[in-house]
Every structure is written in C-alpha cells, then in structure tokens.
C-alpha cells in the first residue's frame, strides 16, 4: 500500500505567496542575516572540535616529548671538592657563609658524601625512566614496566619528575561507572516509559511524565554531594564495602541522573508508534499488556535502543557526580566496589594545576577530544536510529 503524501511543508506554503511581493532590500538583508545566525549551531560544533583538538594536536601528531630532563646539578664527589677553594665548596653545598663558618670540617665532609651518594642512587632509578617520552601512543595505551614497579602496569600519574599518562585506567573507570549507571537506570526508565505511555490512565499520565522529568531539574553537583555525604556511608555499612567511595556509588548516582534522559527518549519512541497498532492488537483479542509487549514495544525497539545509546553518552560525559563520588583512584580493576577515576573527573580535577601549553595540559585536551569523539558518535547513532524510526512509523500511519 503506498503511503499517503506527507503534509505540505510550512515553508512550501510561504513559497507561492512570496513571488507576488515586491522585493524590499532591507528585508532581503535581514533574511540573509537570519540564515547566517541559524548556522551558529553547526559553527559551534565545528569550533568545539577544532579548538579542543587544537590544544591536543601536538600530542596526536607526536610533536611533544615529555621525557623528563633531570636538571639537578650533580653534587661533586669528595675528591673533586678537595680541589676547590673553601668559597667554592661552600657555594657547591648551598650553605650560607655563616653556616659554613660554624660547621666543623668533618660535618662538611659528611654532608658532601651524603649528597653525592643520594644523588647516585636517585639517578640509578630515574635515569631508566627519564628518557621515556610518556605521551607517545605506546605509553598512552600499553602497560609499561616502570623502574619502581614489579611488573608492567597501566599507570596514570601525572606528577613529580616523570609524568605517567596511561589512559587505560581512566577509560576503565568511565566504563565501570557507566555500566553500573545503565544497569540501574535502563530497566527502571524503560519500564516506567512503557507504563506511562501505554498502561497508565491518560489523566495520570499528564502528571507522571513531567514528574519523572523533574528529576533532571536536580543539578548533578547536588546528586554528587548527596551521594558523597549521605549515601556513601549507608552503602558502605549495608554491603560492608572496603571503600566508602567507589564505582558502584558513583554509578548509582549517575543512574539517577540518566533516568530522565532514557525515560524521555523511550517514552517519545513508544508514543510515536501509531495507536492503530495497539488498537488492532486489542481487536484481535490481546490483553492490554500483551498488545503493549508484543506489538507496540517491538515496533518502538530501535527507539528504546537509541534511548540506551544516548543514556550511555550522557553517563560517559557526566563530570560532577563522578568527581565527587567515585573515589578518584586511577586503578585497573574489574571490581565494581573499588574506587575509580573517570576521564571527565580527571580533566576536572587536574586542568587547574597544569601549565598552559605544557604536556599535562595537552594530555587533558587529548582526553577531551577522545571524549568528544565518543559522545559525538554515540549521539549521532542514537539520533539517526530515532529519526529513521519516526519516519518509518509516520509512513505507516
């Protein structure tokens, strides 16, 4: 059966009328301006990618070398000191003239010896790691045998002399909290969407939908603080957890934040299934539930999938909840009750301490670029699925 032609576009209705009008230069200019302003959204998406990636580009292109340069000047050995004048010895040991005067010669010898040996020991360890360019792709993604560890490990530790930038623990942290959030939020939100759109009586529905969407009015920083100060201890006592702040806690709070997102999209998808499907099933003798579960929900299935994908993007990109409640330890572990450090929380916690243009600063922009790329793809996929579904269902109407 051919589908009926789509209703005429509003823009088409204008078109015929416009031809009869005399042209007005000022209006022409204003209409061009309207067109230009409407391109803002496209421009902004483009600029966001451009300027976040611009700061990260030197690392992506391999133009940054973060190999630590050991600038400590080597303390001289005793033999070398013996050849110097007293004034030079004093300067070499960083002593003031007064201190140097008061110190017996034996102490000065001890001090020089101590400094020299400590330095030798430090360099023995540090030299091995110091030459490594820690922002090379190999070190961002693969485990490495650092000199003070027993075995190769994934380490994100951008402090002290050698900044270790392995991004694997951060992505594991993000995926862990997102997984918990989706496991918690998706069943609840989808069930509620089915109930509100199909099973609840219409007068109740008018109230339920905005009430559930009110959950999105709670700022995420409030959810994070609530999880940190109230839920954390309850959860720890209830399950006897080792850590107060962990991926489970952050994931649950994240789930609460993503319920309204998943619910809204799923509800929209189910509502866009033509009522005739449902009525047809009822006419054939199906119960209300059976018509919903076997006819309406399968028809809306791509939309429910889109809801989950968009919920995933939202969870992965959420910052304040995980910053407050996840414990922020960058460790590789499969346990959901271990602390976790996410990509977003890392950017939020560390950007303030970095030198603009330094390798740490650029690494955080690399994380931002990756995050943007992942959410861009998942949003695009979600929107595409939703768009196709609606077109198909409208065609079938």
């Amino acid at each position: 059966m051919p589908s009926p032609p789509p209703p005429p576009d509003r823009a088409d209705a204008w078109r015929g009328i416009r031809r009869g009008q005399r042209s007005r230069p000022l209006e022409w200019v204003v209409e061009r301006l309207i067109f230009l302003v409407s391109l803002t959204a496209i421009t902004m998406v483009f600029l966001i990618f451009l300027f976040v990636a611009r700061e990260a580009a030197p690392i992506f292109l391999g133009r940054v070398n973060s190999a630590a340069v050991l600038e400590r000047k080597a303390p001289l050995s005793l033999d070398e000191l013996g050849r110097l004048s007293p004034e030079e010895v004093r300067r070499n040991l960083d002593l003031t003239a007064e201190e140097f005067q008061r110190m017996p010669p034996a102490w000065i010898r001890e001090l020089a010896l101590f400094r020299h040996e400590k330095h030798l020991e430090e360099t023995r360890n540090a030299d091995k790691d110091a030459g490594i360019n820690t922002v090379a792709w190999r070190h961002l993604l693969l485990p490495h045998q650092w000199s003070d560890y027993d075995r190769p490990e994934f380490i994100w530790q951008p402090v002290s002399t050698i900044h270790k930038y392995n991004i694997v623990p951060l992505f594991i942290g993000s995926l862990k909290t997102t997984l918990v959030a989706l496991l918690f939020a998706v069943p609840l939100a989808l069930a509620a969407a089915i109930y509100v759109s199909q099973l609840a009586n219409p007068r109740l529905k008018e109230w339920l939908k905005p009430a559930i969407e009110m959950l999105s009015a709670v700022p995420t920083v409030v959810l994070g603080a609530f999880a940190l100060l109230v839920v954390a201890s309850l959860l720890q006592q209830a399950f006897g957890l080792e850590y107060r702040l962990n991926a489970l806690l952050a994931g649950l709070a994240l789930g609460v934040a993503s319920i309204p997102v998943v619910f809204s999209i799923a509800e929209d998808a189910i509502t866009s299934v033509p009522r005739s499907y449902y009525q047809g099933a009822l006419a054939l003798g199906a119960s209300k539930w059976r018509a919903t579960w076997q006819i309406v929900v399968p028809a809306a299935l791509p939309g429910l999938f889109a809801a989950v994908v968009l919920g995933f993007g939202r969870c992965l990109g959420e910052t304040m909840i995980v910053l407050l409640a996840s414990g922020n330890a960058a460790i590789v572990s499969a346990s959901l009750v271990d602390p976790a450090r996410t990509v977003t929380a890392t950017i939020a916690a560390e950007l303030g301490e970095t030198v603009v243009g330094g390798h740490h600063y650029r690494m955080l922009f690399v994380l931002g670029t990756l995050l943007f790329a992942i959410t861009f793809v998942s949003n695009l996929a979600g929107d595409l699925v939703m768009h196709r579904l609606k077109r198909r269902l409208e065609g079938a109407r």
Partner: protein
Amino acid sequence: MNGRFRRARLDHASLFFTGLTGFSTVLILLILGVLVGFLFIQGGSQLSWRFITGGTDRDMFDPDKAGILPMIVGTAAKVALMTVFVIPVGVITAVYLTEYARSDSSLTRVIRGAVNNLAGVPSIVFGLFGVGFFISFVGGSMDRLIGGAEPVWGKPALLWASLTLAVMTLPVVIVATEEALRAIAPGLREASLALGATRLETIVRIVLPNALPGILTGAILAVGRAAGEVAVILFTGAAYFLRDLPGSLQDKFMDLGYHIYVLSTQSPNIEATRPILFGTVVVLLLLTCTLNLAAILVRARIRRQLRAAH
C-alpha cells in the same frame, strides 16, 4: 474450558507486568521524593535571612556566620548574561528552521543534527572549549590587540563562563522555540499575508508575539540547566573565594553549584560545614525546581494550544 483457562492466565501476566512497570514508575518518583525531601529537611533549618543575604567576608566555613549572597549574585549574573546571548541566536535559528527552511533539505538536516549533537556534548568538553576558544583564542587575541603586559581578557571571567554556557544551552532554546512556532495556527500567518504583510513582517508582528510563551519556556529551561552547571565554569570563571561581588565582565564570580562542590571536597571540617552545604543545596534546588516547574506549566499551555491549532 481451555480458552477460558488461557484468558485467565494471560490476565495474571497482565496484572503482573502492569504492576512491575507501575512499580518502576513509583520507584523513580520515590527516589526523586526522598532526595528532594531529605535535602529540604536537612537544609531548611539553615535557611535564614542572614544566610541568604550575608557575605562570605567574615568566615566562609562557619555555619553561624557564613552567607551565600555572593554565590546567589554570581549565579544570577552568570545566567542573566547567558540569556542575553542565547535567546536571540536560539530564537532566530528556530525561526529559520520553521519559517524558512524546507524540512527535507540537506542543510536543514545538518543544522538539526548539529543542534542534537550540541545537546549531547559532555559539559566538561564545553569547559575545555571555553578555555581553548574563549579564553586562550578570543581573550588572548584581544589582549594582543590591547598590548598590555598583564592579561586583561585572556583569563577566566564572567563573560567567558556565560558565553560557554550560552553555547551549551543553545539547543534547549532552539527546540522549545521551534515547538512554539509549530503550535501557531497556520491561519494566523495566512491572514497576515493576505492583508499584504511581507513574510518578515508576519514573522516579527504575528508569529513571534504568539510564540512568546514558547520562547519563555526555552529561556526558563536554559536558565534552569545553566544555574546548576558546574563543570563548564570550573575553569572559565568560577572562583573559590572572592571578597567582592563581580563588578565587570572580566571579574571571576562565586557560584552556588561550585560552592557546593567546594564545601563537599575542600571543607576544613565536613561535619561542621554540613549545614552550610545543605543550605546552599536547598537554595540551588529551589531555583532549579521552580524554573523547571514554571517551564512545565507554560509548556502544558502551549501543548493545549497546539492541539487546538491542528
């Protein structure tokens, strides 16, 4: 006999699954209720005239002295400035999409795709964008033009935070305005055109005034979203502590949401500062919940209008 048995079993299944989905709905509402209720009970006692109108000049971590006026003023300044930027751009985009563009053209689809995508960009990425684009690029360029030694514009400021928030809330305004524009009866436009008005005159004098409630919804939702947003302003303008209220666009500002973050993580004594924290939470929640409630009510009116129009 067999048929009756099947019907009865199906009804049990119906009852069970209706109950299960209904229970999920109730559970979500329960989470919302417990969350908001707990916070209001905990924080309500801290609310007092002194707390709301007091400055932080005396002691920011002392529950008996601390006030949150600077945070309220900072949050208000941030969203007010954002509204000035986002409303014109959002409304004009929506006007283009509904009144000018053909819905099947590829450009329209790209614009819609961009709007949807902008809505899903993580807020921390907006924060990075604010630093990389507004502060480093725009601000840095302005500083080079001025040529002073000290950075004037190339540092976190109220202006940059508001602009970044405006980019973030652009989709909210576009979607809400579009819905309102579609709700206007086509007859209104046709009548205006029939009386000899041009397309632009019709839009300015007939369409936009009628879409005002929708534009208002968009503005309210955008403000509600931006008021509680912290990740965006972390590096683009929020300050841990300031003695003075923000006086110009170049100033940093204190913010309710950021203050909640500071109190939860950097408080010298988390137990002692708990009342200030929950008090601040209640003020922020009152703000965002009222705004969202208002948006729901205005939107319900538009939906009724939409049903009447078509």
